[in-house]
């Protein structure tokens, strides 16, 4: 794609940017509908990685030589870009991490461990991915804090009244997904943050499933922490970032110790570096961050409003088409949803569905989606999940539906 902002959505032009989408799988054109697991990468990102290693590789923040200076500038430019990407005021509020899992662990172990006391409460929702459950459980074991879980209704929507009732004087941390990975439910983040703030809790929003689909504005959302996964926004694996309000990050102890996170070291006393370097011990994933920068530039050029419109069309079409199949039950029918269509086929386990779809070149996720409490809530061991991204088409939905008919033929 030319580096011009698009005015009208041209999905063919976008597809041409993603070399992997040209693959044939098992003799069929690939239909990649596993975007909630990871997205494919545009040539712009692949080229940025290659360019960095061919002509820009050096360690950052320490060399006096030309290459180090260039690499440092490129790395820090992505921090500024990431701040703008989520609407943060200050690039120092962006901490680069390996992904959302690490971002949540960082907040739990640094903020949580230094502030929580026995009997304090952490509020989550049933919708959470295991990565937004287990770090808090570990924190509870360490501090004596207690987990409270807000339930969801039959559509996969958080029951706000129940959520509100869980909040109280002992609520210290509230953590929930912006968008559910298993169901696609979009949570009313602003409202949930507002309610948590009435009780003085700090709020972490897990943005792993949101950032590829909608524009993020942390200041409008009002949250204290927001997490972004690089590989789910068309960037390299092993990248991501944590947004945190400056005052909170300043007060938090370091997460890991090592080089780059210090101002000075002696055996008597070590002084920590200022933000955000305090949280970035060791040589970071420099090439990955630069690739992530290329991914964010790419998304900006495509235009997130256009992407959101395209994906909403795909979601509606896929929901209609898949939902119209007899013997298929949609799981996750919240009113506000991202382009994720979860379902079960009567009498056929999700893994059998997945294997047969794979033979038709259709890549979906089949399983519990690292969200076992969600599966339990719906009384199913596993679901099939088709998740869409900016390069998917209605024609691919048709291939999915055709392949599902094939599943039903085999299991008739």
């Amino acid at each position: 794609m030319a580096t011009k902002v698009m005015t009208k959505y041209d999905v063919d032009r976008i597809r041409a940017d993603f070399p992997l989408l040209e693959l044939q799988v098992r003799g069929k054109p690939l239909v990649y509908l596993d975007n909630a697991a990871t997205t494919q990468k545009p040539r712009q990102v692949i080229d940025a990685l290659s360019r960095y290693y061919s002509a820009g590789n050096a360690n950052i923040h320490r060399g006096v030589h030309y290459l180090s200076e260039q690499a440092t500038a490129a790395y820090e430019a992505v921090r500024a870009q990431a701040a703008a990407f989520v609407g943060a005021a200050d690039p120092a509020e962006i901490v680069f991490v390996r992904g959302t899992t690490e971002a949540i662990n960082l907040v739990a172990q640094s903020y949580g461990r230094s502030t929580l006391a026995p009997g304090d409460e952490i509020v989550l929702t049933t919708l959470e991915h295991h990565s937004n459950i287990v770090p808090w459980q570990m924190l509870c074991e360490q501090t004596g804090a207690v987990l409270r879980v807000a339930p969801i209704d039959d559509t996969g929507t958080v029951i706000l009244e129940a959520y509100e009732q869980l909040l109280g004087p002992r609520t210290r941390i509230v953590a929930f997904a912006h968008v559910s990975n298993a169901l696609g439910t979009v949570n009313p983040v602003r409202e949930m943050v507002r309610l948590a703030k009435e009780h003085g809790a700090i709020v972490l929003v897990d943005g792993a499933q949101a950032a590829a689909h909608t524009r993020i504005d942390v200041r409008a959302l009002g949250c204290d922490f927001y997490t972004v996964s690089g590989h789910k926004v068309f960037g390299p694996t092993g990248t991501g970032f944590l947004y945190g309000k400056r005052a909170l990050l300043e007060a938090m102890p370091p997460y890991q110790g090592g080089g780059d996170m210090i101002a000075s070291v002696s055996f008597e006393k070590t002084t920590y570096n200022h933000l955000p370097h305090k949280f970035e011990a060791g040589t970071p994933h420099i090439s990955g961050v630069i690739g992530l920068g290329a991914a964010m530039t790419y998304m900006q050029e495509v235009g997130m409003e256009l992407v959101a419109g395209h994906e909403e069309d795909l979601r509606q079409y896929a929901t209609e088409q898949v939902g119209a199949l007899a013997g298929v039950r949609l799981i996750g029918t919240a009113r506000h949803k991202a382009a994720v269509v979860g379902f079960v086929v009567d009498g056929v386990h999700a893994h059998d569905v997945g294997t047969i779809l794979d033979q038709e070149g259709v890549a979906v996720r089949a399983g519990h989606h690292c969200a076992q409490p969600v599966m339990e809530r719906f009384g199913v061991p596993a679901t099939v999940r088709a998740s869409f991204a900016l390069y998917n088409t209605r024609r691919e939905v048709d291939v999915l539906v055709q392949a599902l008919r094939r599943v039903q033929e085999i299991f008739r």
């Binding site: 098992r26 009498g347 056929v348 386990h349 999700a350 893994h351 059998d352 294997t355 047969i356 033979q359 089949a366 399983g367 519990h368 076992q372 599966m375 061991p381 596993a382 094939r406 033929e409 085999i410 299991f411």
Partner: protein, 149 residues
Amino acid sequence: MSADLRDLYQEMVLDHGRHPRNLRSMDNATAQSVGFNPLCGDKLTLFLRYENDRLVDASFQGSGCAISTASASLLTETVQGKTRREVEELIATFLEMLTGSGAADAEKLGKLMVLEGVREFPVRVKCATLSWRTLEAAMRGGAKEVTTE
């Protein structure tokens, strides 16, 4: 349907997947074990009843995909009446069919050969072996729960 897919979902596999045999708990079991596949969350409990050295009854409970259910169902059918040693041999032969490099021993395996097609689907091999690993554990009387990982 592709040839591989037809080999995987043979009529007998679909039948045992849909109508599993010996799907029941057992009050007078002399051994039991739980098998768990953390990748997909499938879980099954296998019940065995020995009289002296002979396995006189086998049953299971749990739910899973067609492959794991059919495999467990076929397992409970084929081990009935066998001695401990014969069951051990059958387990080894079955696992060899799915995870080994040689040709499957059709004579020893009998109708279990319908699961041979799973070989061509490496990510599904664990579905077919779950109940057999669980049987292994129940026979040893050791681990309370086995996993495919």
